[in-house]
């Protein structure tokens, strides 16, 4: 039945079917591992408890805050990360691999560690947090700005890396041709380079959004209040137990997945396949 793929691009010969079957069984285990907990999360819900939780102001505020912060984070990541990704894709310089490695560091830093480190910089007495509050009145501790900072730290690599790969796929000769046609460098970026790399950029922003909305560790240390949805769920779990927390969790899952699918659709619905052909 489903164990027989419609097409198989590997070698087809006697004995291959065992390889296909083994590979598919491994995949089946993985899929079950991913889907079972999520399905279970919904299976135990009743419409009543879901609606009841959804009506709670705390939960609604937390969900709203999470979505807002994650969208803002993706926008900030785009603003800074996409130009930087273009630079990394086009420039050759000594230490480029070191710079690329620095971009990847947040992927390996435990999120609570990231939170503590961020608190030391963006906290009340931090090197940025202090002056920002004194001179700009901008506070990170316990504010939306702080949530965005925490989310940005852990999710920025997705935007930079995806956009960089997308830019690398755009043939520089297309940009050259555009210039000779009479377009200035900014116009070439806007009309040629970014549209051609759009799918990769959008994928990166979507991943940054998804990573941000699911962030707990860094956020909870830098900004406990106001509570984002994951923090709210943790709090409910501690205070009221599994049942109430799982209803809020199911709600967050529905919203994150819906937005993730929406953004992916936007990303893939526009723009052609990257690469002008070499």
């Amino acid at each position: 039945m489903i164990a027989v793929p419609r097409t198989w691009r590997g070698p087809k010969s006697v004995g291959s079917s065992l390889v296909v079957l083994a590979a598919w069984l491994c995949g089946g285990v993985l899929l079950t591992f991913i889907l079972l907990p999520l399905i279970q999360l919904f299976a135990v819900q009743t419409t009543g408890t879901l609606l009841q939780v959804a009506r709670e102001a705390d939960v609604r505020d937390a969900l709203m805050l999470s979505v807002t912060a994650a969208v803002l984070t993706a926008l900030v990541a785009g603003l800074f990360g996409v130009p930087f990704a273009y630079f990394l894709a086009r420039a050759e310089f000594i230490g480029k691999s070191a710079v690329a490695a620095v971009v990847d560091v947040p992927l390996t830093v435990p999120h609570t560690v990231a939170g503590i480190a961020l608190l030391m910089v963006f906290g009340r007495h931090g090197v940025i947090g202090g002056p920002a509050e004194d001179f700009l009145g901008l506070r990170f501790w316990g504010t939306l700005a702080g949530i965005v900072v925490a989310m940005l730290f852990v999710s920025l690599p997705y935007t930079v890396n995806a956009a960089r790969i997308a830019f690398e796929g755009v043939d520089p000769r297309l940009e050259m041709v555009a210039r000779t046609l009479g377009m200035g460098p900014w116009r070439v970026l806007a009309r040629i380079t970014v549209p051609l790399a759009w799918r990769g950029i959008a994928t990166g922003l979507t991943l940054t959004f998804a990573r941000s909305i699911s962030e707990f560790g860094a956020v909870v240390i830098l900004v406990y209040y106001p509570m984002t949805a994951p923090v709210q769920i943790y709090e409910m779990f501690l205070r009221y137990g599994l049942e109430e927390a799982s209803a809020a969790a199911a709600l967050l899952l529905v919203i994150s997945l819906a937005l993730f699918i929406l953004f992916r659709h936007v990303a893939y619905g526009r723009g052609p396949v990257v690469g002008g052909g070499r």
């Binding site: 000769r173 009479g182 690469g275 002008g276 070499r278």
Partner: protein, 359 residues
């Protein structure tokens, strides 16, 4: 009027370099820049287009010094390998982009009739097509139409055929030559394939290691390679090292491995020292060893077949006549002459087909 004047152009760019490159291209003419990969041909073109800042030298297009101008102000039509159409736009949008950008850059220039331009290049029915579905020939037309829409003063073509198979190359070459003639625009065409030269160029520049080693009318350069490297780039299969024994105004006698070759002299011949005799494989005429001398019998060599390399309609034959000689003939003649490995064969070379290269 000169379409392009390059003077003393030098720059270094990683593994590539330009070293004191100078040449001029008269209006409406086409110059082919021929050189092996890594010679710096593309760097030269990109520098003229405005993508590298030369360390020294000047570039003038239509007698307008563009050395310090950005690429968008140089008015060149740039055609790259695979033609560089923007894949996210339709053919008409590609062409319109060239026209719009140029109108913005040059206030007051008349609007371009895109539909008419597409008709002129025979791609009107492809206006709404994606470049991704075009054949190579259609891509070339669209790329030329787009460049033409931006009213360039000069076309720069960077190996546009490099990724194509031989039949497509030859078809596109003929078509490109026709369009360039019709557009009456000067063009610089860069390639590593000497077959492109005769169909396209009025002038030929040979490039090696960042330098123009020879430049002139196509026929002159083909007839008189100035060095072994030049003969190499021009695709002379036979480059024989010899020594001038005697010469008069018309003929030189050159000793190659104990054999004497008579060579038509077209320029001064050195009295002594090593020379190179360059002969195209197709100018070596193979005959039965006992055949009567032909009118190409200024030189008759007797040798043995060493190797045969069938190339479809043509076959390359390597001979040993005291030195190694490559001949090229129709494959159907191979059997008629009984050419098998070890067979004896006569090779006739006309004096004007052998070129004296003084290294």
């Amino acid at each position: 009027m000169t379409a392009l004047a390059v003077a003393g152009l030098s720059l270094r760019l990683g593994a590539f370099a330009l070293d004191d490159v100078s040449f001029t291209l008269p209006a409406n003419d086409v110059m082919v820049v021929l050189g092996s990969n890594g010679a710096g041909k593309s760097v030269l073109l990109e520098t003229i287009a405005g993508f590298h800042r030369p360390a020294r030298g000047r570039i003038a297009i239509n007698e307008r010094d563009v050395t310090t101008l950005p690429a968008e102000k140089r008015r060149v039509g740039f055609v790259v390998q695979n033609f560089g159409l923007f894949p996210h736009l339709t053919v008409a949008q590609n062409v319109a982009l060239g026209a719009r950008a140029q109108r913005r850059a040059r206030a007051g220039s008349p609007p371009v009739d895109i539909a008419a331009l597409l008709r002129r290049f025979g791609i009107a029915d492809l206006a709404d097509a994606s470049p991704l579905v075009l054949s190579p020939g259609e891509k070339q037309r669209a790329a030329l139409a787009r460049a033409e829409a931006s009213h360039p003063d000069l076309f720069l073509l960077d190996e546009p055929f490099a990724a194509l198979d031989a039949p497509a190359r030859s078809q596109l070459r003929v078509e490109l030559a026709r369009f360039l003639r019709e557009l009456r625009l000067p063009a610089l065409f860069v390639t590593h394939d000497y077959v492109d030269v005769a169909a396209l160029g009025d002038h030929l520049a040979l490039m090696h290691a960042g330098r123009i080693i020879q430049c002139g009318a196509v026929d002159d350069v083909f007839r008189r390679p100035v060095s072994r490297t030049a003969a190499d780039i021009l695709g002379f299969e036979n480059r024989l090292v010899g020594r001038v024994v005697s010469h008069d105004r018309r003929l030189a006698q050159v000793a190659v491995e104990g054999k004497f070759l008579r060579i038509a002299t077209e320029s001064a011949v050195p009295a002594a020292g090593e020379v190179i005799v360059a002969i195209r494989a197709e100018n070596v005429r193979l005959l039965r060893p006992d055949a009567a001398p032909t009118n190409a019998a200024d030189n008759r060599l007797i040798g043995a077949v060493v190797a045969l390399e069938p190339l479809g309609a043509l076959t390359k034959v390597a001979l040993d006549c005291g030195f190694r000689l490559i001949a090229c003939l129709m494959s159907r003649d191979v059997a008629a002459l009984g050419l098998v490995s070890g067979a004896a064969v006569a090779a006739d070379i006309a004096a004007p087909d052998a070129h004296l290269v003084v290294p």
